[in-house]
Symmetry: C2
DNA sequence: TGTACATCAGTGAACGCGCGTTCACTGATGTAC
DNA sequence: TGTACATCAGTGAACGCGCGTTCACTGATGTAC
């Protein structure tokens, strides 16, 4: 019962592409695989994305929107607890959307500047992190505020990268001298406690 | 003047693959492109790598070895300055070897556990970071030590991800409310100073 | 309200490419006697 | 030292596949009169 004109194809393509990207990895996301999965002719996506990279950029943009939604605290008086919860949401997002997260921060989309909406959305995500922090800290100095925000962001971003490999580095043949395995396990078993300790350290500094 | 038997092909393939990976991106690294660039028949690499993923794993392993070399301080009494220098080396490595770094920490090599040498090398890299820190801190408690090391590692890892996008987010159409751009510029213009401030915060916590 | 026509969004065939992998092979090397 | 032979490392042809992209097209929609 499909009509020749879809009416809402672009949105549907982006949402479908996001699914493929996360489910199969971004390497498997292609204009053809997308068309197939969307039950549309091979060339239909070209009406909406000039190149494959434009498609990647759209999926990355969508990813930043979701991250923003997951992380941004929509309230006035942010507490330390709120901030920790938001930070944990960031890490959870990165772990649960590993492939998309890689697309957003990796080298696949080489030059963000070619995709203004991507830049805007990525910046908005960062802004929401700063807003969270500023509402909590009541810090006025913008330099201090954004400096601390970068540090927090870096830490969260880094935790995603490390915790992600947690299971992967489990290995009987080599026992790390200091056990990054057991340490990451310990941390991720009580992530809020870890975050509280580290984040307050950064915030107070 | 080539002989039929190369004698040292595996090492040469790995080193060549590392070059391709960094120069063209890991997506462009294929068994065929590698064979071509190594002036060897298309199927020769199969003597040394059973699958493409095995090749990726070898390049990632090579990357960790280089990172280890770049970061590990080969001395007894590590000072704060040494530690900061080592940390800066980490970030520089990540920025200057973006594609390889992505391969090492991304989702491309899905399951490290299938490649024991990769796990071993990755763990050794982490160990060297802990060793650097322990020599500097003279901290005895292993849990505290490895916990702080993870935090430091996460921060450095995160800084790579963020600073990498620095130029990419430069954009006139959208001015971020708090300017991550100007902040990252400020930070990267004097990275050692920034690292000193943040790292001492983490270490003392 | 009806019609002519421009515009738009999706179709389907076709192009040429690089890829992973297999296979039977060949030339070089190492070893047992 | 010489020879037979097993083993090893590299070759070259071939397979089938999915891909990005182009092109001329067609059916639906919107609009001017």
């Amino acid at each position: 019962m499909k009509s020749y004109h879809h009416g809402n194809l672009k949105e549907e393509l982006i949402s479908c592409a996001s699914v493929i990207c996360e489910r199969d990895g971004y390497a498997k996301l292609s204009i053809r695989s997308l068309a197939k999965e969307s039950n549309v002719s091979q060339t239909a996506p070209y009406r909406h994305f000039k190149t494959k990279e434009e498609l990647y950029a759209a999926v990355a943009t969508e990813g930043f929107k979701k991250l923003h939604t997951a992380v941004f605290l929509q309230k006035q008086n942010v507490t330390l607890d709120d901030f920790i919860k938001s930070s944990k949401s960031y890490i959870d997002f990165g772990l649960q959307n590993a492939n998309t997260y890689d697309l957003m921060f990796g080298t696949v989309v080489g030059n963000f500047a070619e995709y203004p909406e991507l830049v805007e959305t990525a910046n908005k995500t960062f802004d929401s992190l700063v807003l969270n922090l500023s509402s909590f800290l009541k810090e006025k100095d913008e330099n201090i505020l954004s400096g601390k925000s970068i540090t927090v962001w870096a830490l969260l971003h880094g935790m995603v990268g490390i915790l992600r490999k947690q299971v992967l580095t489990e290995n009987d043949n080599y026992t790390s001298e200091f056990g990054p395995m057991s340490t990451t396990k310990r941390i991720s078993s009580d992530l809020p406690a870890y975050l509280e300790k580290v984040l307050t350290g950064i915030i107070k500094a």
